[in-house]
């Protein structure tokens, strides 16, 4: 047996250098006694064995060191021996960190997890009591805590990051962490009676704890799984737990048994006031009034799931109205038409054809987004004939107020919305059609169709056709201008 001494229970640094030398000398894992406290030395009466002075390139993943350093803080007496065994096996390629079925790896991950949990619980359950104000005006606090493992040095820096402008003391049976004027020092452990015995704010905290508890849903197991009883003695609120549990059944039963009381008279007063101040529906005699009314439209079921009605956009004096299918994900969120990918493509193509978006009225045949959820995304679904027909009410009102000379319908849905009946896109595309007095209809595809084409060559061709349709529209617009000018 080789006896190796470490300076303390958590002296990972020495373990690391010793383990390296032992590995260099190819000392088998079972041959070493790791001693962390002076009493062990007396017990065995042995001198530490001189270590061989050889060095070696240790081949272990960096992640092992991170895990090992935390596992070394576990109260498991075997930890340094098991860590050496792991180091030995990893170095000799006898196991791998990624083999989660290896008993040594399982041990390591379990210890690491227990230590991390213990640190987390210390962050959660330390309760400071105020003790005064320092001569530099810093508030002073103190806390007593009893962790399960040797974690003080790992857990305390969290409090420095969180409370750097307070002075505080955290005392455990093993360590005292003192943070004064921005300086952290550790000394030996202490006793609970070194710390302030009370703090008036604890009464407020207990009141909060008791009031936030819902007696109608008692689940003590869920509580003790996360806040085991061994922590209770240092938690000021925990002393209330037995009485809260004891009274919960009666309290819940009383709530259920209570007969409904007459309504608070204040409710009726509020109701009357609301009725008096409720906005009256305006007659639909301006585009603004139409838009306001459309916001609360429930003519079809699409309003049940969409975020908002997406209205048309553009000057009322526009001579060109472009009609699309329906808003998409981004339009639904922003409440504006043609701002998503298809809108961007439309913008580029309009610019290419010399049509100003700012003088055009852009709208959709259907004003609500229809979709099916797929994980984190929404997949567009095609509006049906009923939905298009219902929404035609709004489209017709828009046409009435804008009075466009030319309407460009993009896609079959738009065509149906404008015509009021189904029409095949291929029958109408490239045609100019007088659909009402002084109103000409042109038809093209929806830009979203172009975006969906998988084949790049095909997409190029179709994009060119789309642009040609827009150019035809621009030309017609210009002809009309000349004719009227």
């Amino acid at each position: 047996m080789i006896a190796v001494d470490l300076k303390s229970e958590t002296d990972f640094a020495s373990w690391r250098t010793r383990a390296r030398s032992l590995l260099a000398a190819d000392i088998q894992p079972g041959m070493i006694a790791w001693r962390t406290n002076p009493a062990d030395r007396d017990l065995f009466g042995e001198q530490p064995s001189p270590l061989p002075e050889r060095d070696i390139k240790v081949r272990v993943p960096r992640q092992f060191l991170t895990l090992a350093e935390r596992a070394a803080c576990h109260r498991d007496d075997e930890r340094f021996a098991r860590l050496y065994r792991l180091l030995y096996r990893l170095h000799h390629r006898d196991c791998a960190l990624s083999d989660k079925s290896d008993p040594d790896i399982i041990w390591l991950e379990k210890r690491d997890k227990a230590v991390r949990r213990d640190i987390h619980k210390m962050h959660a359950f330390v309760r400071f009591r105020a003790s005064g104000v320092s001569e530099f005006g810093r508030e002073q606090f103190g806390a007593w805590f009893e962790p399960d493992n040797y974690i003080e040095e790992l857990a305390v820096p969290f409090f420095v990051r969180r409370f750097p402008n307070m002075d505080w003391l955290i005392v455990t049976p093993r360590r005292t962490a003192r943070y004064v004027d921005g300086e952290l020092t550790y000394t030996d452990g202490g006793a609970r009676d070194q710390l302030p015995a009370e703090d008036a704010v604890e009464d407020q905290w207990r009141t909060y704890f008791a009031s936030i508890f819902n007696p109608a849903r008692l689940k003590t197991k869920a509580m003790t799984a996360e806040m085991p009883k061994r922590y209770w003695k240092n938690l000021p609120e925990a002393q209330l737990i037995p009485s809260l549990i004891a009274s919960s059944t009666t309290r819940a039963r009383e709530m259920q048994a209570a007969a409904p009381q007459p309504a608070n008279p204040r409710a009726a007063t509020i109701m009357r006031q609301r009725e008096l101040t409720a906005p009256q529906a305006e007659p639909l005699n301006t585009l603004a009034a139409v838009n306001a009314a459309a916001r609360t439209c429930t003519r079809c079921d699409l309003c049940r799931h969409a975020s908002q009605t997406v209205l048309g956009e553009g000057p009322q004096s526009a001579r060109l109205m472009i009609v699309g299918e329906q808003p998409g994900d981004q339009e639904d969120i922003a409440g504006r038409p043609f701002i998503g990918p298809a809108g961007k493509l439309l913008d580029q193509s309009l610019a290419h054809s010399g049509i100003e978006r700012s003088t055009t009225y852009l709208t959709n045949a259907v004003k609500h987004f229809k979709f099916t959820p797929r994980g984190k995304r929404r997949i567009h679904s095609k509006p049906n004939a009923g939905e298009i027909n219902q929404c035609r009410w709004w489209l017709n009102l828009e046409r009435e107020f804008v009075q466009p000379e030319i309407i460009l319908a993009m896609g079959a849905t738009a065509l149906r919305g404008v015509l009021g009946r189904a029409g095949r896109l291929t029958d109408y595309r490239g045609q100019t059609l007088e659909i009402a007095k002084g109103v000409t209809l042109l038809t093209t595809v929806h830009p979203a169709y172009l975006l969906r084409l998988p084949d790049a060559d095909r997409r190029e061709q179709e994009l060119a056709r789309f642009r040609a349709d827009l150019a035809q529209t621009a030309m017609l617009l210009e002809e009309r201008t000349r004719a009227s000018g």
């Binding site: 105020a130 905290w205 508890f213 689940k219 309003c303």
Partner: protein, 416 residues
């Protein structure tokens, strides 16, 4: 009315806040107070500082600014027609309570909500003012969750998001019909519009800088902890399928971090429209499991609550097991070959176990003894997997398979 002490107000306004299930303090940006004035830090992981006997974590000081309310939502303890005791905090009282609790390490931060007084805008302004004072006047860097009042001006939502880590607008009830019936002053479109505004603000402030040239000055972060919502379960007649499809739509539409399900619970002075019943806690639990299946296991909402159960989740077995029993043809799955997606559908395997299986099978053909070390509940998985030394044979298709997982029917008590 005699003026109440702070502690009396706290009792009323914490009691009024307890029906909001969320207490999360995780997932926001990392920050601390080193080298700066003020107090507080957030480190990614949330911390639950205490647990109440209802099993719920206490991470935040969860209170209402006031429980006076001009709305009359039938399920709510604070509805205008209720006779509960009312109280109102001043902005300063909330600020100092938060700081006092925070400095004693009782909490990760504040979750502030409110009944609606005067008008939605007035109320929202007050909530924003609490957050502003904490952040600006006190350099407070702890967590802040603000309840967003859907009816308030979008500009106030924008302001709220500058100070808060998380914003939440409650959807309250799963369907439009229920909302009209039980929360007459609220409306689905208003709620969804507010959620859309939050998403839109989050996305505009986190848009990536252009590839070339200097990045533009970064806009202040908006609600870095995202948004969440809450749905009350069991107050109306909605079935689980409706609830899950509403959740699926909300997740896909507004990039919510979480949908919280809150079993409708008896409240003092309940409305006669909603007589107090025992809260459906098991149903709530199953809905959370189903929600997890959608978010972490790759299930579509339509797969989960089956038509054969009337669109309700089975209360006796978990919804993933229920799916597996309905879809036996999918199994057995070979642990040594199956994809991650397939493994995630095996009862008893969670994302952690699946990751370990994928990692370990590079070293050896996995046998049952490997698996029993990797998974704590391997016996639950056995009928649904094959391993190097295991095949379930006829077990997968056995008529009695469901019985393996359901508790024995309770014996009638002799003394009942």
């Amino acid at each position: 009315m005699a003026s109440r002490t702070l502690i009396q107000k706290l009792a009323v306004l914490a009691d009024a806040a307890k029906y909001d299930a969320s207490c999360a303090s995780s997932g926001t940006q990392k920050r601390n107070s080193l080298g700066k004035d003020g107090v507080g830090s957030t480190e990614g992981m949330g911390i639950c500082h205490a647990y109440a006997p209802d099993g719920r974590c206490i991470s935040l000081l969860k209170i209402l600014l006031t429980n006076f309310c001009i709305f009359d939502c039938r399920y709510c303890i604070n509805r205008s027609s209720s006779n509960v005791e009312r109280a109102r905090f001043t902005v300063e009282e909330v600020v100092s309570l938060t700081l006092d609790f925070y400095k004693r390490n009782y909490i990760e931060g504040l979750f502030l909500s409110s009944g609606i007084i005067r008008s939605p805008d007035y109320t929202m302004e007050q909530l924003v003012e609490v957050a502003r004072r904490l952040r600006i006047d006190h350099n407070y860097r702890g967590y802040i969750h603000l309840k967003t009042i859907a009816e308030a001006d979008p500009l106030l939502i924008e302001k709220a998001g500058r100070y808060a880590d998380r914003l939440s607008v409650n959807i309250e009830l799963p369907t439009e019909t229920s909302l009209t019936q039980y929360a007459p002053e609220k409306s689905g479109p208003t709620i969804r519009k507010a959620m859309a505004d939050v998403r839109s603000n989050i996305e505009t402030t986190t848009e990536k800088a252009p590839d070339r040239g200097k990045p533009p000055p970064r806009p202040p972060r908006f609600a870095p902890g995202g948004q969440s919502t809450q749905m009350i379960v069991g107050a109306d007649a909605s079935i689980d399928r409706d609830i899950l499809s509403t959740s699926a739509r909300l997740y896909s539409s507004y990039k919510l971090r979480r949908v919280y399900y809150s079993a409708y619970s008896p409240i003092p002075d309940a409305s006669s429209d909603l007589p107090p019943v025992r809260p459906p806690l098991q149903r709530e639990h199953r809905l959370y499991q189903a929600d997890w299946m959608m978010r972490f296991y790759g299930y579509e909402h339509a797969e989960i609550a089956g038509a054969d159960t009337g669109g309700m989740l089975d209360l006796d077995i978990d919804p993933k097991l229920a799916w597996s029993l309905r879809n036996r043809a999918y199994f057995p799955v070979d642990v040594n070959r199956a994809s991650k997606e397939q493994l995630l559908r095996v009862p008893g395997f969670g994302p952690g176990t699946v990751k370990k299986i994928l990692s370990s099978r590079r070293h050896a053909r996995l046998r049952l003894d490997h698996l029993s070390r990797i998974s704590r509940s391997i016996s639950k998985s056995l009928p649904f997997i094959t391993a190097a030394d295991w095949t379930p044979g006829a077990l997968t298709d056995s008529d009695r398979l469901r019985a393996r997982y359901t508790p024995e029917p309770e014996q009638m008590s002799l003394f009942a």
